[in-house]
């Protein structure tokens, strides 16, 4: 037995046979790259850089989603992450729904986790009140993110929204 320098513990590997589908809405290319690297091996990752892309992906595969990761401030988008969450939860007032956001399949149960680098600008209670399930801060701690996704699913089973 010899001492070694400690490093972060690796999250337990998931079953590679059937990977859960995760949608990540993120305008920053470097953050999408990081997510692809760190989540891509355990999840099937759908990446959207704008509200429109997110809506298209939800329309195509919304019913299969395991979780949605949502950046809050989105460049080149009409809706920010909060409004987009309201839209996915069917809580956005009709006059605010853009044309590309009409007739989306409702996502009442899929956990939506906000991922934001704006420390302190958003309060978790406020984000939960629009239909989110959790606030994760950037830089993302992927152990924490994995645990949070699992926990959100457990909570969902225990207490349907």
């Amino acid at each position: 037995m010899k001492p070694i320098a400690p490093t972060g513990a690796r999250p337990p590997a998931r079953d590679l046979g059937r990977r859960d589908l995760v949608l990540y809405v993120e305008d920053e290319q470097s953050n999408r790259q990081v997510a692809q690297m760190r989540l891509g091996r355990d999840y099937e990752l759908l990446l959207a850089s704008t509200d429109r892309e997110a809506c298209d992906l939800v329309r195509a595969r919304g019913s299969e989603l395991y979780a949605v990761l949502m950046d809050i401030e989105l460049k080149n988008s009409r809706l920010n992450g909060i409004e987009l969450t309201k839209l996915l939860r069917g809580r956005l007032s009709l006059d605010q729904v853009p044309d590309f956001g009409r007739d989306l399949p409702p996502l009442p149960l899929v956990p939506i986790l906000f991922v934001s680098a704006y420390g302190g600008r958003y309060r978790e209670e406020e984000l939960l009140s629009v239909g989110g399930n959790k606030l994760i801060s950037k830089p993302v701690n992927f152990v924490e993110l994995n645990n949070a996704m699992t926990l959100c699913h457990l909570n969902r089973l225990r207490r349907p929204r």
């Binding site: 070694i4 400690p6 490093t7 953050n31 091996r41």
Partner: protein, 428 residues
């Protein structure tokens, strides 16, 4: 006639429509001066004739420059005029004096009113200025917070890549089974087939219980240098992140924007959090970290995350300023209605003269220390602010070269909170 009289000047103008005979005029003038009257008139509307005396004389007095009074009196004959006038003038003077006093009183009251009005005006102006100043302050405070949020975003976004990409690359290195000491978090690679028994003691900290309980995997293998470089990038990124967090934390605390999420907290869970955070650091520096064993009955009303932050800051400092091989201890004492954390090290110590300054923002004992020991220099400032938010106090006992002992005393159940300024802050 009246107009003519009023327009004329001189102490005594007319009596019975004719100029008053000089001797009488002189006497009347004296009387007038004695009664402090500037001007007065004596006249009669009914001048009468030689056979029949005129009607009652009318005396009109004008006293002072401002006060005015009219005094009527009936005077039968010329012979009665002078004594009558004497009485009249005395009375008139008194009346005028009264009128003057009354006038002064009125003036005084008016000027008082004016003063009060002026003062009220000044006050409301001052109030308005204050409101404006307050709004400006709030606005600049808001702008500052907005700026901080943007800085936070700009710093955290690149850190997401800096920390997570190399960390992800490390996952591709071969991993070996290893154990981690539950006490000091030091990791040890296991040889193939090697088994650690529950009775083995940790080579680093000597703890027995729990040493074998945690099994983990640690990355090893060739090329070792690449792995080390990646680990360095991750470590430096995490350090930078902690500095960024400190700066944002300190700014928010100073602006009163931090709100505690208070609940009943088991001290044992806080010590667990603390152990996880600083155990590895102590092991790396070859220090013995002695943490207390607490039972579930020991609780405190406070913010679990912030309580851990207080202890992590103080233990982190103790570890940072210790000599290799030294010992860092955390003790928990329970004086009545309070919990006291005692963090002691055998490190370089702090001169008495520096002991107050170190709680100020951006301070280590001297500029050189920041470079020598790293860190944002904000840890103790944050610690003190967090302790104050918990309505506790923090102090230290130390001598240069003799190690330091920090004390944090928190009430078990804080009293009613005095107003916490600013809007509630969010989790970051």
């Amino acid at each position: 006639l009246l107009t003519a009289l009023a327009a004329s000047s001189g102490p005594l103008v007319a009596a019975r429509g004719e100029p008053v005979a000089p001797p009488l005029a002189a006497e009347l003038a004296e009387l007038g001066a004695a009664a402090r009257l500037d001007r007065f008139f004596v006249f009669s509307l009914d001048q009468g004739t030689r056979e029949r005396p005129g009607g009652p004389a009318v005396v009109m007095l004008i006293g002072g420059t401002e006060a005015r009074a009219r005094y009527h009196a009936a005077v039968g004959r010329d012979s009665e005029l002078l004594p009558m006038l004497s009485i009249l003038l005395t009375q008139a003077a008194a009346a005028l004096r009264n009128a003057q006093l009354y006038q002064e009183l009125l003036d005084e009251r008016n000027s008082l009113d004016d003063k009060v009005k002026a003062r009220t005006g000044e006050l409301s102006q001052a109030n308005q200025d204050l409101t404006v100043a307050l709004l400006k302050t709030r606005e600049s405070e808001r702008v500052k917070m907005e700026f901080l949020a943007n800085v936070s975003h700009e710093l955290r976004t690149p850190l997401n890549s800096i920390i997570n990409l190399p960390d992800g690359l490390l996952l591709d290195f071969p991993r070996v089974p290893a154990v981690t000491c539950a006490c000091c978090q030091a990791s040890f690679a296991l040889e193939p087939g090697e088994v650690v028994a529950g009775t083995d003691s940790c080579p680093t900290c000597g703890a027995v219980a729990g040493f074998a309980a945690v099994e983990t995997v640690v990355y090893q293998g060739e090329p070792a240098q690449t792995r080390q470089y990646l680990e360095t990038v991750v470590r430096c990124g995490r350090h930078l992140l902690s500095v960024v967090n400190d700066i944002l934390d300190a700014s928010r605390l100073e602006a009163g924007r931090v709100e505690l999420h208070e609940e009943r907290v088991e001290l044992a869970t806080v010590v667990d959090d603390v152990s996880r955070a600083v155990g590895a650091l102590a092991a790396q520096r070859g220090l013995q970290l002695v943490l207390p064993t607490l039972d579930a009955s020991q609780t405190l009303f406070g913010d679990r995350v912030r309580l851990a932050q207080i202890l992590i800051n103080l233990l982190g400092n103790a570890i940072k300023f210790s000599h290799p091989g030294g010992r860092v201890t955390l003790q928990v004492e329970c004086p009545e209605d309070a919990v006291r954390f005692v963090i002691a090290d055998q490190g370089i110590g702090i001169a008495v003269a520096d002991q107050e300054r170190i709680f100020e923002s951006f301070r280590q004992v001297d500029g050189g220390h920041t470079r020598r020991f790293g860190g944002s220099g904000l840890g103790l400032a944050i610690t003190r602010q967090l302790v104050l938010l918990h309505q506790g106090r923090v102090w230290l006992r130390s001598q240069l070269g003799e190690g330091s002992t920090f004390f944090v005393e928190l009430p078990r159940r804080p009293g009613p909170r005095t107003a916490v300024s600013g809007a509630p802050g969010g989790s970051s």
